[in-house]
């Protein structure tokens, strides 16, 4: 965070000396609440400037004005004690020298039991809170902040309002009341920034109340005193949004700050990844971010918090897999997380869905929608990480031929694990807890599993592996039957088993479900997104010949099928010509005994040559007529099927669209189809 710009305001404060005057330090110290939140470097510069203006440094001034008289036995009055404590405190803030803080604490402790003057109470609690940070005592830090609110802010607020109503809130005579906007700002920075700089990352949760109060019309509410750009309001906004939102841990400030911190490290690692690739610096930054996420996970007490961490961690894992795949490098990146942890967290979130148990999982204040949103986001990250990881292993298998089989198995394990996860939770009674994109991802996993063995593995798959591949392709087609290439992949796998003849028996029921699906029908009728390509696939799947084409002709080059139709039509033309000639000959024989007098029947056959010829021609006519009828059926069915088959190509683009757009409307259709099929199967089983 940047420092307060409000230090500038000090220059405009009345009564401060411009010429060299040691007593000017009194004013600088009395108004130290204006600039004490500055970062050390700026504060040091500011104190140096004041020292030059006053003609002696702050340390010299403290000695001459207060320490020397004290050594001479003089008792310091209340303002002098306060200024001495503030002076040492400023030196500590500028140099982070704990000796100065100790001196400041020793001095300000005079005000410990003092009631009354709010200025003294403010500095007492503010300084003691810093000492608590330095000592790493969160409870003490919390206590001083709560006391600061109770003993300083609460009593001053009403009075400040009154003065503000009279336009006197910044009057020189209004005393410490006018400091209230700075008190808000300083306390916000103390809780949100200084605590984190000091590494106090536990036990801060009671202070979320103060943070909420500061955000509620206090910090940033006095732009005439502290300009908006110099205020910490935007940072406070983000913290409140997090602590009150779905990425919280039941409202824990400690967790929110830890996750926020981890998010900043993550952003840095992302930046390095984008600009420098996976070099040593980037790998280190990724590890640092992972470590910060691990710390946040350690702080999480609720499932909401655990889910928030896993959502971000899985995103980071996915980014690393994608970068490794894209850049073709594979450095070791330390990431102390397992996907099983994310799946366990999902399962635990799923388990609390009933009887308001989800409220106790951290969602009491954020509500049911936030619970469902979190469970969806976690699922989506689980699915994307599995798919990214599998892609990464397959890409590596292409580069590392010696390890190809192991890498293919790693990829297939990713696909299998996602499918198991999907099958466990994507049940008809838990629709609300599964995002719609989960179904297409399940199809991608099923097909990816098959492709891993069929296309990437160096050695031949075993019989058991081929069995699994067939099963996975069938699963993929059941979930997404609109992938026309998947049908031929199924036949390829069946051919490896020598069971290509089983294709129609396996494919027909899946195709029939699409043809009979009410959900698909409604979708197409309503012209929903994808209605045209899905309609084309449905018409195709209704036709056995097209289904055969899908299974066996997918690899054919474009035009080959059209060529085969042309061949049939050509044969049909020849046969028609032959038939016409035969008819003509037979008629000739009927009229003149022989259509060709030169060709007489041989003697001794007992039949006249013309009769024998007529019989032969008649038989030939029957044969040609049969052949023509068969060819006409072939031509007719091919003329019907080929356009249907060609139309299925329009469905190819849908796959890319659904993969790229996880919120594509057509994901809804896949969910409906999946559960329609399952409920139909369940009903059939019940009837049986």
């Amino acid at each position: 965070m940047r420092m307060l710009g409000c230090a500038l305001a000090l220059l405009a404060l009345p009564g401060l000396a411009a010429a060299e005057d040691p007593t000017a330090w009194e004013g600088y110290l009395d108004y130290a609440y204006v600039y004490s939140s500055a970062d050390p470097k700026t504060l040091k510069g500011r104190l140096g400037q004041y020292g030059r203006e006053a003609g002696l440094s702050l340390e010299e001034y403290l000695y001459e004005a207060y320490e020397a008289p004290r050594e001479d036995g003089e008792a310091l009055d209340e303002p002098a004690v306060r200024r001495l404590a503030i002076g040492y405190f400023l030196l500590y803030l500028a140099d982070r020298d704990v000796d100065y803080l100790d001196k400041s604490v020793d001095t300000i402790e005079d005000f410990e039991d003092q009631e009354g003057r709010h200025e003294n109470a403010y500095w007492f609690h503010y300084i003691m809170a810093h000492r608590a940070l330095e000592k790493g005592h969160p409870s003490e830090f919390v206590k001083h902040n709560l006391d600061l609110w109770l003993n300083v802010v609460v009593p001053l607020e009403s009075a400040y309002d009154t003065l503000e109503a009279l336009s006197l809130s910044q009057s020189a005579n209004s005393g410490f009341v006018s400091a209230l906007p700075y008190v808000f700002e300083n306390q916000a920075r103390l809780i949100l920034i200084r605590s984190q700089e000091a590494g106090v990352n536990r036990g801060l949760d009671p202070l979320v109340a103060i943070v909420r109060l500061l955000h509620d019309g206090r910090v940033g509410a006095h732009p005439e005193v502290i300009p908006a750009e110099a205020s910490s309001l935007s940072y406070l906004d983000r913290i409140i949004e997090r602590v009150s939102g779905s990425e919280s841990d039941g409202g824990s400030l400690t967790f929110t700050l830890a996750l926020f911190d981890a998010g900043r490290y993550h952003e840095r690692a992302r930046g390095l990844l984008a600009t420098k690739g996976l070099n040593e610096e980037t790998v280190k930054a990724i590890s640092v971010a992972s470590g910060a996420y691990e710390a946040a996970l350690d702080r999480a007490e609720t499932l909401q918090g655990r889910a928030a961490v896993y959502i971000r961690v899985l995103r980071q894992m996915g980014e690393v897999y994608a970068a490794k795949q894209r850049l073709g490098v594979d450095p070791y990146v330390e990431m102390p997380f397992q996907m099983e942890g994310a799946i366990e967290t999902y399962a635990a979130l799923f388990d609390v869905r009933k009887n308001d148990e989800w409220k106790g999982a951290g969602f009491r204040s954020t509500g049911w929608d936030s619970y469902v949103q979190t469970i969806h986001r976690l699922w989506e990250e689980i699915q994307e990480t599995h798919l990214n990881a599998a892609d990464y292993y397959l890409a590596r298998s292409m580069r590392e031929k010696n390890n190809a089989d192991d890498l293919v198995r790693s990829a297939s394990r990713m696909y299998s694990r996602y499918l198991s996860f999907f099958q466990q939770f994507a049940t008809s009674d838990s629709l609300e807890f599964v995002p719609e994109s989960a179904y297409f991802a399940a199809y991608e996993s099923a097909r990816g599993f098959g492709d891993s063995y069929m296309s990437y593995q160096e050695s031949n798959p075993t019989a058991a592996e081929i069995d699994l591949v067939v099963q996975r392709y069938l699963t993929g087609l059941q979930i997404y039957p609109f992938d026309r290439h998947a049908w031929s992949l199924l036949t390829n796998a069946l051919e490896r088993k020598g069971q290509a003849n089983d294709y129609m028996n396996l494919a027909r029921p899946i195709a029939d479900r699409v043809v009979r699906s009410r959900e698909v029908h409604k979708w197409i009728q309503a012209k929903e997104p994808g209605a045209k390509p899905f309609g084309a696939m449905r018409r195709a799947l209704a036709d056995d010949l097209v289904l055969m084409y899908l299974g066996f002709a997918d690899g054919e080059e474009q035009g080959v099928l059209e060529q085969s139709l042309g061949d049939v039509e050509s044969r049909q033309k020849k046969l028609r010509a032959e038939l016409a000639e035969l008819e003509r000959k037979r008629k000739g024989l009927a009229r003149g005994g022989s259509s060709s007098p030169a060709k007489a029947a041989p003697a001794g056959t007992g039949r006249s040559p013309s009769r024998t010829e007529r019989t032969r021609i008649t038989r030939r006519i029957h044969k040609v007529t049969d052949q023509l009828a068969k060819l006409e059926r072939q031509v007719e069915s091919r003329q019907r099927a080929l356009p249907l088959y060609r139309a299925t190509r329009s469905a190819d683009a849908m796959i890319d669209q659904l993969r790229a757009q996880r919120d594509h409307a057509a994901h809804t259709l896949l969910r409906k189809m999946y559960h329609e099929t399952r409920s139909t199967s369940a009903s059939s089983e019940e009837m049986e």
Binding site: L146, D161, G251, T302
Partner: protein, 179 residues
């Protein structure tokens, strides 16, 4: 202690229209026991009335934030934080809120009655969470006495919703032991 001084300051503003700026915020004077005087003070008007309404509204909002925080700490079973925060709340209620709620007239004043009652209910809800059933009962008794015959008054209770004072009282009685 401090609120007593501020109340008297507001009184000064409302009645005399004068302001002793030098004494503001410094609070150098000895605390004065003004309990009875505050309880029986005359209704404020003008700027002082506006300020009282503002104070009550702010206190109500603050109590809602305290409620959210305490709920969160309880949900997270953070006993150490609960203990620290309980101490703060007890002091806040005793030193600031109770004096703010002491005067009788603000419960009768048309402009303030709604926020005054809502604030009392929010306080009772906080006390339920803090497991002080006796103090909850005292608050209920106080509300019943002050708002007798005004069960239809619209208030912000239960937390985050609106309802009538009569329904709110029934809920409070039912919830008294549920902290």
């Amino acid at each position: 202690m401090t609120i007593r001084r501020l109340s008297s300051l507001a009184l000064l503003l409302g009645l005399a229209g004068t302001l002793a700026l030098g004494s503001l915020g410094c609070a150098g004077a000895e605390p004065i026991d003004m309990d009875a005087a505050v309880r029986n003070e005359a209704p404020l008007g003008g700027e002082a009335l506006v300020q009282r309404k503002h104070d009550l509204e702010r206190a109500h909002r603050d109590l809602l934030h305290f409620h959210a925080t305490l709920t969160s700490l309880v949900d997270r079973h953070d006993s150490r934080s609960i203990s620290l925060f309980d101490g703060f709340l007890a002091a806040y209620l005793g030193e600031y809120l109770d004096p703010l709620l002491r005067s009788e007239w603000q419960s009768r004043h048309a402009e303030l009655a709604g926020v005054d009652a809502s604030l009392r209910f929010a306080k009772a809800e906080l006390l339920i969470q803090m497991r002080y059933p006796r103090r909850v009962q005292q608050t209920i008794d106080d509300i019943e006495r002050r708002y007798k015959g005004r069960d239809a008054l619209l208030i912000e209770y239960p937390i985050g919703r609106q309802g009538t004072l009569g329904d709110g009282l029934e809920m409070l009685r039912d919830r008294k032991w549920k902290g």
